[in-house]
């Protein structure tokens, strides 16, 4: 169908309507980006702005903030809550919420401590048991939501208390279990760092994949008589990404380097991103989040989608709990308490996942948690009391939600829902 014997240029299938503006040149792309932001499609912009502001403010107050080793510590901390935020993205995309992820992570860390240290299970078995507890809690929330119509807000609020109680119960009177320092789990959470060459090689991958996939898609689209992204733009994007990542890795390698735990978190984010954008399951998630009834009528099993999201969220929360146990080398009553819950939710929202459902991405958890942890790390460096830290983090969360609400209002008025 793309054969064009006469040789005259024929509009491609998707370019035959003259009402659509096509952003081909770099200038037009920049303009398109500006218009998208104005219509409320903010994407990653709040994160970029946030990170710049945070770096400037904290590094002027305390130069240590930007030191390589401090950033390495920051990445270690990001991984634990970040994994929890990945799960939060899943439920937020559906327009639901899980308020019990903090307690779930605390329970998981307690399970690992009790089974592994106190009962003498192999560490892998203990971790598996912790993850299974997450699966069970997720299934319970899904059953409450699907069968009894209980709002996830209330169900998980009840879960927050119940799981916290369970955590305190299994930890027993001592309230704290130290994990052996020499164990591989604790080493993974505290010291294991990628070799320099490996981290430098790995960050080449995103750019290479982007170009490789881009060329393949381009060829397919041109063969199918569809317009394709210009090569220039593709290579420019990949080059900018690769250079930025290489510089970041180089800087981190001036300190200790890239933690394996952070690599695990990034790997999970990539997998979740693929699942959300390139699979039928992901498409169904966004459909259910956007219009539940429309999704049901087009034959999607809505209940199964809700179940998958709640289970995924609780399981990732449990994994986050295991990682935080390995990070702190202990399972204690404090694990998962305090601001873990809100940090995970705030990370997803700041990264651009809407609280109203139907919009979001796995990378929002990745970028959002870096913002949140940077704030918390910077405030710790300033030696501020926890009272002030809570107030500031609360303010940041409020701002993130306000930005989300305003952007949503703007999207509705610009017909981009």
């Amino acid at each position: 169908m793309n054969q064009n014997p006469s040789g005259t240029p024929q509009p491609t299938l998707d370019r035959s309507d003259e009402r659509v503006r096509h952003d081909d040149s770099l200038a037009a792309m920049a303009k398109g980006f500006f218009l998208r932001v104005r219509s409320g499609d903010l994407g990653m912009l709040p994160v970029a702005v946030g990170l710049v502001v945070i770096s400037v403010v904290f590094s002027t107050l305390n130069p240590v903030f930007l030191a390589p080793n401090n950033l390495v510590n920051l990445l270690f901390d990001c991984a634990t809550v970040g994994v929890i935020a990945l799960g939060i993205v899943c439920v937020l995309v559906l327009g639901e919420i899980d308020l019990s992820v903090g307690s779930m992570s605390g329970l998981a860390s307690a399970i690992v401590g009790v089974l592994w240290v106190n009962t003498g299970w192999p560490v892998a078995g203990a971790i598996l048991a912790a993850l299974l507890s997450g699966v069970c809690v997720g299934l319970l929330y899904a059953a409450l939501y699907n069968r009894l119509g209980m709002p996830s807000f209330v169900a998980t609020l009840a879960g927050l208390l119940a799981l916290l109680g369970m955590q305190l119960y299994i930890l027993g009177p001592s309230g704290s279990i130290n994990l052996p320092y020499a164990s591989s789990l604790v080493r993974f959470g505290q010291i294991q760092i990628m070799p320099d060459w490996l981290s430098h090689t790995l960050v080449l991958l995103p750019g290479l994949i982007m170009v490789g996939k881009g060329i393949r898609t381009r060829r397919q689209r041109l063969a199918a008589n569809l317009s394709a992204q210009p090569m220039r733009a593709l290579i420019l994007k990949a080059a900018v990404l690769t250079i930025a990542l290489e510089i970041a890795v180089f800087y981190l390698n001036l300190g200790r380097g890239v933690p394996w735990m952070f690599a695990l978190f990034v790997g999970l984010a990539v997998v979740l991103n693929y699942a959300l954008t390139r699979t039928k399951w992901g498409r169904s998630m966004f459909a259910v989040g956007g219009n539940k009834e429309a999704a049901r009528r087009s034959g999607i099993n809505v209940r199964r989608i809700y179940t998958s999201a709640f289970v995924l969220c609780s399981t990732l929360a449990a994994l986050g709990g295991v990682l935080s146990a390995s990070r702190l080398a202990s399972s204690s009553q404090q694990a998962g308490a305090g601001d873990v819950n809100l940090n995970a939710i705030a990370a997803a929202v700041i990264g651009g996942t809407s609280l109203f459902g139907g919009r979001g991405s796995a990378y929002s958890a990745l970028l959002g948690i870096i913002v949140i942890q940077a704030i918390s790390n910077g405030l710790t460096l300033l030696n501020l009391s926890s009272s002030l830290r809570y107030m500031i983090t609360g303010g940041v969360l409020a701002i993130a939600v306000i930005v989300d609400s305003l952007a949503r209002r703007s999207r509705v008025s610009h017909g981009r829902a």
Partner: protein, 273 residues
């Protein structure tokens, strides 16, 4: 053409046969003892006043509502339509009056929703090509299939909804008020489309308040009134008959006006044999 199609379809068994369908919402019976046959290659129009139960009947057939009583046969076999997925699987596609589209997704995603190609690695290129081809066949004026549906007009959304129902090669397609939100050209296009669908041997159920549209395409007109069957008409039956069947009254302003018109026509043609 209608006559040949009807005689052809008369030999085959109806693709859809409803017997004694009732549906209660609490104390209200929305449908009572509905009988309906749809043959392959036949357009059946469901007409009736507001609240006559047309949309409820469509929702029963789409698997959205479950009937309180009665039986549904599809291609000669009794079936129960427990959920929308089941109805779609059997080959009953529906275009709902309240357009069931996800506004946050683009046109391609909406067209293929629930039936994406290659579920583990969505083939966006193939889906986009199929979307454009389908929209071309419908002569649809959708500017871009990669914009969220939220940016489309009502008529464009209707086109997307109809295109989606045809994607799965259904045996029966139901259209609930397909032309209500459309302009003149799009209405003609949708009516053309319905005829093309009929020629492909599909059974079509169309709900409309617009008698002109109904008579233009329907092979049979089934009138519902207060949730009950109230007569079956051929498209050449008079408007007066239809209106009185729909409203249940032989004497009202609409029928009087029609009578006057008919009387005028009769007077004018009085001299002719």
């Amino acid at each position: 053409m209608t006559a040949t199609l009807q005689s052809a379809s008369a030999e085959r068994e109806p693709v859809l046969r409803l017997r004694g369908i009732s549906k209660n919402f609490g104390a209200v019976s929305a449908l009572t003892d509905i009988e309906l046959d749809v043959n392959p290659g036949e357009v059946v129009a469901l007409v009736g006043d507001n609240g006559a139960g047309k949309s409820t009947l469509v929702k029963v057939l789409a698997g959205v509502h479950q009937p309180s009583a009665g039986s549904i046969e599809f291609c000669g076999k009794p079936v129960s339509l427990d959920n929308p997925a089941k109805a779609l699987e059997l080959g009953i596609a529906t275009v709902f009056q309240d357009l069931a589209l996800c506004e946050n997704l683009d046109v391609v995603a909406n067209l293929f929703l629930g039936h994406e190609l290659t579920p583990w690695a969505l083939d966006e290129v193939a889906m986009e090509v199929r979307a454009w081809t389908l929209l071309r066949e419908l002569a649809a004026r959708i500017p871009s299939v990669r914009e969220p549906v939220a940016s489309l007009s009502g008529g464009q959304r209707q086109t997307v909804a109809i295109a989606r129902s045809l994607l799965l090669d259904p045996k029966v397609i139901m259209l609930d008020e397909p032309t209500a939100a459309l302009g003149v050209a799009q209405t003609a296009e949708v009516l053309n489309l319905i005829e093309r669908v009929r020629e492909r041997g599909l059974g079509v159920i169309i709900i409309s308040h617009n008698m002109e549209d109904v008579r233009a395409v329907a092979d049979r007109i089934v009138v519902l009134r207060l949730g009950r069957n109230n007569g079956v008409f051929l498209p050449d039956s008079s408007s007066q008959e239809l209106v009185s069947a729909i409203t249940g009254a032989t004497d009202n302003s609409v029928s009087r006006r029609l009578e006057r018109k008919a009387g005028h026509a009769h007077d004018n043609n009085g001299g002719a044999p």
